[in-house]
Amino acid sequence: MRDVLVGDYLRSRGVTRRGLLKFCAATASWMALPPTLAQEIAAALEKARRPSVIWLPFQECTGCTESITRADSPTLEGLIFEAISLDYQHTLQAAAGEAAEEARRNAMQENWGKYLLAVDGSIPLGNPGYSTIAGVSNVDLLREAAKGAAVATSQAKARVSGLSARTAEAMPQESPPPP
């Protein structure tokens, strides 16, 4: 499913290329881009694939996950089947234990340098052993996942004070080549 191009997917849902061009013309206008870029935006969008997303929930209240399961625009199923490929989120995914960790490692390897990393919850730094997943401390898991991420984002920073600073502290400064 992740290999389906956005253009093919849109056509399968009845969105014509004229419809896509129109969307891109309006998007270029909203973003104050030259209107001649609409064609290029459409061409790039058609060739894009759904991005792989790895979501690491650490010491969190599951509020973010609860919220997203109740979202209606887009719905959770619309989001994970049409917009992104959610390859790891241990609260939502069916796999558990080693199978879940293997899915994460596979997704990281296949999408090295391209996947989006979402993080929520706090990360114990003083004693990393306070919170571990599959025997790996949160901070080590974050460092490993962040190495190959194109973008990393942290949620619920208002709820979990200091998360952003801790996430930034745990993040590597540069991306080494894939393992």
């Binding site: 290329r17 004229r18 061009l21 129109k22 030259p34 209107p35 001649t36």
Partner: protein
């Protein structure tokens, strides 16, 4: 007693961009004729005072081509009274204007048939013609209910 409306002051807002934009259209038309290069101007991207967009549209007027599209909401394509100058207005499904472009082109981009859909059409038309050529498939004869007939014969014998 004087009211605010009674004060004889009228404020005319002008961005000064109307004439500039019309000159840009004129230059773009010249470029199209000289080099074949089309241009697009996003009317929403040009700072205009209230009423100035209407002034531009009024100046451009309407020509002999008008087209309506339905692609993710209605869109209208109107050739202005100047051949080669088109006004393309996009609406969202609720009718709100989401973009208005002035295209200086032989044909606006959105009016052209799209290659990817033309290729699909080529395959579809070939399939449909192949179906027309193939002999009509005769409907299968209704299956006889031999079990029921056999049971009826047994009952008759009894």
């Amino acid at each position: 007693m004087n009211t605010l409306a009674g004060i004889p002051v009228t404020v005319e807002l002008a961005s000064g961009n109307v004439e500039l934009l019309l000159h840009e259209i004129a230059h773009a038309l010249e470029r199209l004729l000289e080099s074949g290069k089309a241009s697009v101007i996003d009317l929403r991207g040009v700072p205009l005072a209230p009423g100035e967009e209407e002034r531009i549209l009024e100046f451009l007027g309407t020509g002999e081509v008008r087209a309506e599209l339905d692609a993710g909401g209605p869109s209208s394509v109107n050739e202005s009274r100047f051949a080669g100058v088109w006004v393309v207005t996009h609406h969202d499904p609720s009718g709100e204007i989401i973009g208005r472009l002035i295209e200086i082109a032989f044909v606006p981009d959105i009016m052209r048939s799209q290659l990817v859909e033309m290729r699909e059409s080529r395959e579809r038309i070939a399939r449909e013609l192949a179906l027309m050529r193939s002999p009509a498939v005769s409907a299968p004869a209704p299956a006889r209910n031999t079990d029921a007939e056999a049971a009826a014969k047994v009952l008759e014998k009894r």
